[in-house]
Symmetry: C5
Subunit: 97 residues, 5 copies
């Protein structure tokens, strides 16, 4: 998994029928030291993530192991909302700070 | 998934028999801020995408989760046509603008 | 899929027994505008591709969806020979030109 | 697989229910000559890795072949703790040195 | 697949139990013109490769299609030892030269 921030969303009415009612979120990938990268992924949300949330997302067939994405043409899924992370004992990010 | 624009198509008469009648589209990958990148993918269309459409495509085994691509040697499939997307509440792209 | 040109071949007598009689071709990856890239993949041929042919290849589990590669330790397969492709209505490559 | 060092951990209380009690570790990827890279992955630990351990991690569907990760939305798993490695007969890393 | 050279090995006593007795080799990736790259992968050997051998390795789920790796948390496997390869009819590498 990588860490990213929910920075937007994609609207698509014409899509594979198995994706009806799925929410596509734009996730900007962040480095492990917290810096934003010029990389993104559009992921299906499976945990109720909202704007500006830091999240973990899984890719490939692993993205289809949630009840929201199972058997669907989706190669990236948000499977966790990050509360905090640390590096070498130092806090890098704290959601509720 | 990533966002891309349909910029061309590939003709291939000699191909795996399971790919007969499948349409191969050239999709130029775009960044989340809308800028075109010097990257592309050739994807099978599963949603009726046309020239210049902005689309979402899925890769890997996830690309085979549509009725068009199921069980076929295809590692990229267009599974949605993008109507619009936004970043931080600002509209980046609007199909019908 | 990506577009590539068959530029060589690999001989390997000592290999997984499920790969006996499989042909390993060196495919140089090309950009969508036709330019060769300094990237390659060694792919199993499933469609009778020959030297200098422009081809499409699939990767990952999708590479195993042909009768030639099914169940085999192969992560790239040529599944189509390109006749031509175009960008924005302009022909980029034409096999029989 | 690639070699990495466990440099941190991620706390996420809101996550896919199949990931309850799974430990997310931040692994900084290292080159084969031992140098740290500015790349990371968040991996589920399946072998009891601790801070500063050098580890091997597997990605994609292979990351789900452990009893800890089976059937879960996880695309990276630590599956070995590195004791040592060598290049050309020269020791590069030795855990107990 | 990509071409690489076996340049080292990794010792790991604490690992997923399904990987007991599997040999982890450090493979340095080479370009198609034979030049070494500053990239590597740690792969499980399924064909008896030795130091300095040029090999082909497969990644992802394809790496698990050998009897040595089937069902195991392994995302890269050596599945062939390269005898030789050519580009445009010119020999690039010859094992027994």
């Amino acid at each position: 998994m990588l860490i990213g921030k929910v920075v937007g969303s994609v609207v698509a009415t014409q899509k594979d029928e198995k994706l009806l009612d799925r929410k596509f979120l734009v996730v900007q990938i962040h480095g492990h030291e917290g810096q934003p990268r010029d990389q993104y992924v559009v992921a299906v949300d499976s945990v109720g993530a909202g704007p500006e949330d830091m999240v973990l997302y899984a890719t490939g067939s692993s993205a289809r192991q949630t009840t929201i994405t199972d058997g669907r043409p989706c190669d990236a899924a948000i499977m966790a909302i990050v509360d905090s992370w640390d590096l070498g004992g130092e806090n890098v990010y704290e959601k509720w700070a």
